[in-house]
Every structure is written in structure tokens, then in C-alpha cells.
Amino acid sequence: MSATRIEVKDLVVRYGDAVAVNGVSFTVGRGEHLTLLGPSGCGKTTTLRAIAGLEQPSSGSITIDGQAMFDAAARRNVPAEQRGVSMVFQSYAVWPHMSVYNNVAYGLRVRKQGAADIKANVERALDLVQMRHLADRAASKLSGGQQQRVALARAVAFSPTVVLFDEPLSNLDAKLRAEMRVELRELQRRLDITSVYVTHDQEEALAISDRVIVMNVGVIEQIGTPEEIYNRPKSRFVADFVGSANLIKGKATAPGLFEAEGGTILKTAGGTSGNEVAVRTAYIDLVAKPGDNQLPGTVRQRMFHGDFVQYIVECACGRLIVRRPPTNLLDEGAPVTLSFSPEHTVLLQG
């Protein structure tokens, strides 16, 4: 049995004259949780919907479990209802005219399961999302969070192997979002589902994915594990979009050396070509360590974010943003020395 569940090759999707997805290729392995991450308009949702069969691509191919679902060359486009995947929508799309039970049972009924089997599966799915006690309630009378759970239960009730998620948490408030993230991950592991997940929230993407694909204006910027994406962004876009980073302009003069605009020489991790150095805000310390790049500067602004404090420090390399744990707060105007290790620098061609 192949380890690849989904294979997308050279996918192109057009809307009239605009190209939403411009040649995207990737694979999703069995049991993997892959996230498509990017700003709005980057084509991630379109790609997801193309996999579901809800969009008509112009060229390329999509294969699920070895079967070609879409193949432009062979003029083959299997309709959505025959692809055997499942999907959770951004607006939940819980049917208001049915009860919670009937919503969840829908996919089972379509598959013509017996009443006893349906009952068992529905209850199992509702248990997974802790909604069993609301089984008979009208779906129109649920709160947002409850609707989200029902949508999830509905999606997994018939034990699909592939579930697609279209920004399922974006309509929830921050706290609920954080909780649901954890639950989703749990669920996915427990049921061994292959999931393709779309979000614009990079924090979310990093937290729950096995691999992340960063997209921008219809193309893939980078594919990698969350750590890879975070620590070794391959482009300015990824560095800027994922996590919070400082971008220092200049020129790489020699392997390991970088001359910033303004003259400061920085030690980098290697590489000779690049005109920008990215340093994560979390990797800049206020306490000098031997071997680090050390930049004296002045605190210009302090913002207390609760879980962390953010300083804007003016130094020879410009204004750098630093995020530190929220202890030992510095006042605005205080002198400080910024310190970061060459390993934490990433050389980019901006």
C-alpha cells in the first residue's frame, strides 16, 4: 500500500482571466496532517476545494489513493460526491433545518447504512466532540462553537480516510480556537485521518501540522516541517509571514559575514549570496552571550502583550523588534545591548 494518499501535480486553477492557483505540486502521506498556509488570495482554499472536487481546475492532475480524480490530459473530472473525501467548512455549513443527530447521520444515510449502524456511528462521532447530550437539538439553535463540533462530528462519522479542513477555526474567539486546536489534533491522531488543513493563522499551522506548505499568489513558497519553516525560511516572504522576524538589509561579504546597511558587520551561519538577514524576534536576547552578534541600542517603545513583552530597539542596524518573556521590564529610553547567535540568522535573497 502506497504511503501517499493524495498527490497533486502541476495544478492550475483559473477564474476568468485571473489565475488563482499557478502550478502547485505536493503529496500528502497516509495519516499526515498537512497545512496550506498563506495570506488571503494565495490560492490555498482554491487548492483544497479542487481536491474536494468543488472547483474546476484548468490543468494538472489530482490523485487520491492511487485513483485519478482530476486529470486535465485525460479530460477526467470526478464529481465531488464520488471522491470519497470529507470536508469541514469555514462557515460550518450545519444544516439548520435538521437536528444535530440528522446532520451527523447524513453521510451515513447516503452510504445506506442500517439504522442500528447509523445510531452507533453517530453516537460515537458525537462522543468524540462531546456533543452527545445535544443530539436532538435543532441545529439552528447552536452556538458557534457547538456548530463547529457538529460539523466535525458530521465529517468523521462515516470514517473517512481523508478529511479536508477549510479554515474551520477562524470564526471562533481566541480562547476557543486554542482549545479546539488541541482537540482537533487529538482527533486526527486517534482516528488516523489524513488531513489537509487550510489556514491563514501561522501560529495554528505551526502548532498542529506535520508539514506546512506556505503559499503566496498561487505558488508554493516553501514546503517543510514547522521547525524548518520557522527556523530556515527560504524566502523573504516566508520569513516575514511565518513567525515574527526582523529583516536587516545589507550584503553578504564573505561566508559567515554580512555587512548591514550602516556598516555593522554581522556573523551569519554561512552562505555567500544574500542581501537580507532575517532574525526571529524571539531569538534576540537582551543579555550578551559570548559568540553572539552584539548590538548596543536604546529602547524606543515597550508593549506588554501578557505572555510576552515586545520592545522596539533602535540600534545601528535600524529598528529591531525583540520579544522577551514578560519579566524584568525595561523602560523606554533605557540603553540595552541586543544579542543573537549567528545560528539564528538566515541569509535571504530579498
Partner: protein, 568 residues
């Protein structure tokens, strides 16, 4: 920041109060007073022309059930048949055009609007030519193929209902497609992704969700059908089938005119329509299946594959039956010396157009209608904008009452309202009866619901804070209206203007009672001319007027295209 003192605030409040009271009085005068006259006259069992009535009694109402019971029966049967057909047509077209990937969707949607531009009379006239017994087009073809007798006979209950449904179908289409468009497409997509076939999705998800909208449309259309006039006039009367509107019409056109009976029938019809529309508003208010989450949806159509072409055919068939065939039939008829579909006997001539151009309905009526359209739309829209602001944006105490009053004319069948105005202004000692002024007043009154509804839709989209900001900066109410509200309303104002203009130019029910020798307007004057002109001449008149109106509208659309793009 300078604070406004207490004294400076008070005059402003008084100003607004005065305006509200004035508005309430004026609108009541326009809307309610004629009906008061009508109620009084319906109780008149003495000389129908006497004012005030010499004797009061309920004889007129009782007589409806004694003598005119078959009129009531006809009205209900025809209205039910017509509603069922109109809803079927409207639903099918709405589903095809909003939920499937039928080719040429935009063009088809545009074409769906066409039947609305044709005055209702035109369709009735055309179909009497197409499906008349013995000599109608369809029967001629049938005979030529060797069929026995007549295949169709438009002169019957079903014929009247058919014509009404065909043209009222566009209204049903607009209402139902609005309800379908406001549905989150994800609701269907989630069913399909889970594995439900297109048919199953439609039956288990789409239909139940659209049902409230469809039911609302059914009620609305039924109420309209009860008050429908043109088809019953052209097709019903030769078939000796009277409905309540033609019975009212007939009562006033005999000697002696039976205004008492006409008023009683009109009020009976009004009460029924009022009841239905109240029920409709209650249903809409409930909105259990509120599927609107505040986001604008771009409904994503289902891919129907090859079936899409069949669906295209269905839409094309409707356009053919409602637009192409009638216009073709009328053109053909208007070019004949004597209206006959027997091609062997047909002689062609342009004389009908020459004569038509000399007759009142064309010469004076067109100018009057366009003038009234411009005038009422222009003045009306500004007044309605102020009304809308008062109802939805001000804090005035009486604004609920104003909203109710303003929407009231919708519950009154146009014909009945025309009768009420006729009777009221025959007896109010201001001699505007038979002049364009009375028509203007009547048009303004019956267009109030339309204009207010359109503008309200736009006003509600304007964030309150935009106006509040102006007030905080010190702008008086008038200045704020002028500098902030009205400019922001501009696209809505233009859309409302166009709608009112179109409605004025097509108007039949109200105008039919209020015309005078120098105050003729399009649709009613064709009705009048129809009685003493052959079909071929009437066809020529109807076509001249339809095309003039379409040309006028095209010009207007061109001029306002940029601004109204968002509205369409």
C-alpha cells in the same frame, strides 16, 4: 471643543417633531383618506352618485354573495391556478439560474427581466392572437396538420391563469432567486462532499432551506393575482368570465354607474389581500432559517454536465413563450389589414402604424406617461429618501406609524385604490380630477412602498456612525442630510428612480380610473382603444409603446450604468 448649550438643542428637536407630524398627516391624507371615502361609498345603498350617501346599509356586500358569487369563485380559481404556475416557473428558473452552471447565465438573467418591461396588456393581447380558438396561430397550425377542432382555447379560466402566470413568473423568479442567492453555498457543498448526489442534495438540503422563501413568494404572488386586471380584461370578458377586478371595472362603466357595489367589492378584495400580506410579513419576520451570516455569498453553481444544455433550453423556452412569441405575434398582427392568422387570407400593410400614430394612446399618452414617470420619480425619490431617513435613522416617536402608513398602499390592489381615488376626488372640492396632477398624486402614493423599500435597503447598509459624525461636528439635520446622507444614498437613489420610472410608465390599475381627455397615459389608453379598435390596430399601438418605453429605459440605463452597477 465648544459645547452646545441646552437652548441650542431644543429648537432642533422641535423642528424634527414638526416635520414628523407634517409627514404623518400628509401620508395619511394620501393613503388613508381615499379608502375612507371608499368605505363610506360601499355602504351607500341609495343613489350611487349621491355624496354623501343618502342611505347606509350592507346591501352591497350581501349582493356580492348573492349576485356575484360566481365572480368570487372565478377570482379564486384563476388566482390559485395562476399562482401555482407562476411559482413553478419562478422556482424552476431561479434554481437553474442561481444553482447550476447553465451556459449563458448572465444573458439569461437579463432576458428574464424582459417580460416585466412589457405592459401586462401586451402579453394578454398577444396570447389571444396566438391561442384564440379557430383562428389563433396554434390552432391554425394544428388544423394544417389535420388535427380535429381546436387544440387550445385561451378563452377560459386556464387561459387567463396561463397568461397571468407567464408574466407574473418573473416576479416569482426574482423573489425566489433572491432567497436562493442568500443561501450559504457551503450548505450544499458539504452534502455533496459527504457523497450525496446532486438530486439528493437538492431534495434534502436546498429545497427545505429555500421553502420559507418560496412560501413567502407564493403568498405574495397570490395576493397579486387576486388584484390582476389586464389578462382578465382582454381574455376574460370575451369568455364571459368575470373576476373581481373586471367586475369592479364593469360596475363603474355602466349607466347608472354602481359605485356602491364597486366599492364593496373593492374593499372585500382589499381585506383579503391585506390579510395575506400581513401573514406574509409575519412569516418573513420569523426567519427561522436565517441563513444570512452577514457575509456576501458568491453562490457556486453545480456542474450539470450535459444536462446544462437541457436547462438552457428550459430557460430559452420561457423567454420564447413570454417574450419572443408574443412580440412576434403582435408584429405579425399589426402588419395585417385584418387580423387573421389564416395566412392565405392575410394582406399586409403599414396602415395600422400610420393610424396608431394619430390616435390618442400614442400621440398624447406616451408623452404624458414619460412626463409623469420623470416627474414622479424625480420628486418622489427625494421625498422618499427623507421618509426613509425618518423611519430608519431618526429617533422620532412616530416613525413606526410612518413606516406602516408608507407600506400600506402595497396591501391595496391598484384597481381598488384607483377607484378610491376616483370617488374621493370626485367629491373633494378641488378640481384635479381628470388632470395629470391627480395621476401624479396617485402614482406617488402607490409607488411609496417600492421606493421606500429600495432606499431602505441602501440606507441600512450605511453605517450610522457616518451620520453621527456629522452631527457631532455640529451639522444641523438639513445640512447633514444634504452633505452626508443624500450623497451616500446616490446609487440607491438612482436605482429607486429607475424602478419608480418604470413602474409609472407601466401603470394600469390606478390610472384606468383617473384618465381625462388630456390626461391619457399609456396602458389604460390602450385598454380603452382596444374596445373600439381591431386587434391589428391595438397590436400596432401596443408595439409602438413597448418599444418606446424600452428605448427610453435603455437610454436611462446607459446614463446611469456606472453608478448602478453594484445595485443590479
Amino acid at each position: 471643543m465648544t459645547l452646545l448649550s441646552g437652548e441650542m438643542l431644543r429648537p432642533r428637536r422641535n423642528w424634527q417633531a414638526i416635520v414628523t407630524i407634517a409627514v404623518v398627516l400628509i401620508v395619511s391624507f394620501l393613503v388613508l383618506l381615499p379608502l375612507v371615502f371608499l368605505v363610506e361609498e360601499s355602504l351607500n345603498i341609495g343613489d350611487p352618485l349621491a355624496f354623501p350617501p343618502a342611505q347606509y346599509g350592507f346591501a352591497n356586500y350581501l349582493a356580492i354573495f348573492e349576485e356575484d358569487i360566481n365572480v368570487l369563485w372565478n377570482t379564486v380559481i384563476i388566482a390559485v391556478m395562476a399562482t401555482v404556475m407562476a411559482i413553478l416557473i419562478g422556482f424552476t428558473l431561479a434554481w437553474i439560474l442561481t444553482r447550476t452552471n447553465v451556459p449563458g447565465r448572465e444573458t439569461l438573467e437579463r432576458l428574464m427581466e424582459l417580460p416585466y418591461y412589457m405592459t401586462p396588456l401586451v402579453g394578454a393581447l398577444a396570447w389571444s392572437v396566438i391561442a384564440g380558438p379557430k383562428s389563433g396561430f396554434i390552432n391554425q397550425v394544428w388544423k394544417a396538420w389535420g388535427g380535429p377542432g381546436d387544440l387550445v382555447d385561451i378563452y377560459g379560466h386556464f387561459g387567463i391563469a396561463w397568461v397571468m402566470a407567464l408574466f407574473e413568473g418573473t416576479v416569482a423568479f426574482v423573489m425566489i432567486s433572491a432567497s436562493m442567492k442568500s443561501m450559504d453555498p457551503a450548505l450544499e457543498e458539504s452534502a455533496r462532499v459527504i457523497g450525496a448526489s446532486k438530486l439528493r442534495t437538492t431534495l434534502t438540503v436546498t429545497l427545505p432551506l429555500v421553502m420559507p422563501g418560496v412560501l413567502g413568494a407564493t403568498l405574495f404572488v397570490f395576493a397579486e393575482m387576486l388584484g390582476s386586471f389586464a389578462a382578465a380584461l382582454v381574455i376574460g370578458i370575451p369568455a364571459r368570465i368575470y373576476v373581481i377586478t373586471t367586475a369592479i371595472w364593469d360596475s363603474t362603466l355602466s349607466f347608472p354607474p354602481d359605485y356602491g357595489r364597486a366599492s364593496a367589492m373593492g374593499l372585500a378584495l382589499f381585506v383579503v389581500m391585506f390579510g395575506m400580506l400581513t401573514f406574509y410579513r409575519w412569516m418573513i419576520g420569523r426567519g427561522n432559517y436565517a441563513t444570512i451570516t452577514g457575509k456576501a455569498f458568491r453562490p457556486r453553481p453545480m456542474d450539470m454536465g450535459r444536462l446544462a444544455w437541457v436547462l438552457f433550453g428550459v430557460c430559452a423556452l420561457y423567454v420564447f413563450l413570454a417574450v419572443v412569441l408574443p412580440i412576434a405575434a403582435l408584429v405579425f398582427t399589426s402588419l395585417q389589414r385584418f387580423a387573421t392568422v389564416i395566412l392565405s387570407q392575410a394582406e399586409f400593410t403599414l396602415a395600422n402604424y400610420r393610424t396608431a400614430l394619430s390616435l390618442g394612446p400614442v400621440r398624447t399618452a406616451m408623452g404624458n406617461s414619460l412626463l409623469l414617470g420623470f416627474g414622479v420619480a424625480s420628486v418622489g425619490v427625494l421625498i422618499m429618501a427623507v421618509l426613509v431617513w425618518i423611519i430608519y435613522r431618526s429617533q422620532l416617536v412616530g416613525r413606526g406609524a410612518i413606516e406602516y402608513l408608507v407600506m400600506f398602499p402595497q396591501a391595496v390592489p391598484r384597481l381598488v385604490f384607483g377607484l378610491a381615488l376616483l370617488w374621493a376626488w370626485l367629491n373633494i372640492p378641488v378640481p384635479i380630477y381628470g388632470t395629470l396632477w391627480l395621476l401624479a398624486l396617485a402614482y406617488f402614493t402607490v409607488m411609496l412602498p417600492l421606493g421606500v423599500r429600495t432606499l431602505a435597503g441602501v440606507v441600512l447598509q450605511i453605517d450610522k456612525s457616518l451620520e453621527e459624525c456629522a452631527r457631532v461636528c455640529g451639522a444641523g439635520w438639513v445640512y447633514q442630510m444634504r452633505s452626508v446622507t443624500l450623497p451616500l444614498l446616490k446609487p440607491g437613489i438612482i436605482a429607486a428612480w429607475l424602478l419608480i420610472f418604470m413602474a409609472c410608465v407601466r401603470e394600469l390599475g390606478v390610472s384606468v380610473f383617473l384618465m381625462g381627455p388630456s390626461a391619457k397615459v399609456i396602458a389604460p389608453s390602450i385598454v380603452a382603444a382596444f374596445a373600439s379598435s381591431g386587434t391589428e390596430l391595438t397590436a400596432a399601438m401596443a408595439l409602438i409603446q413597448t418599444f418606446t418605453v424600452i428605448v427610453a429605459l435603455l437610454i436611462l440605463f446607459r446614463l446611469t450604468r456606472g453608478v448602478t452597477k453594484e445595485m443590479t
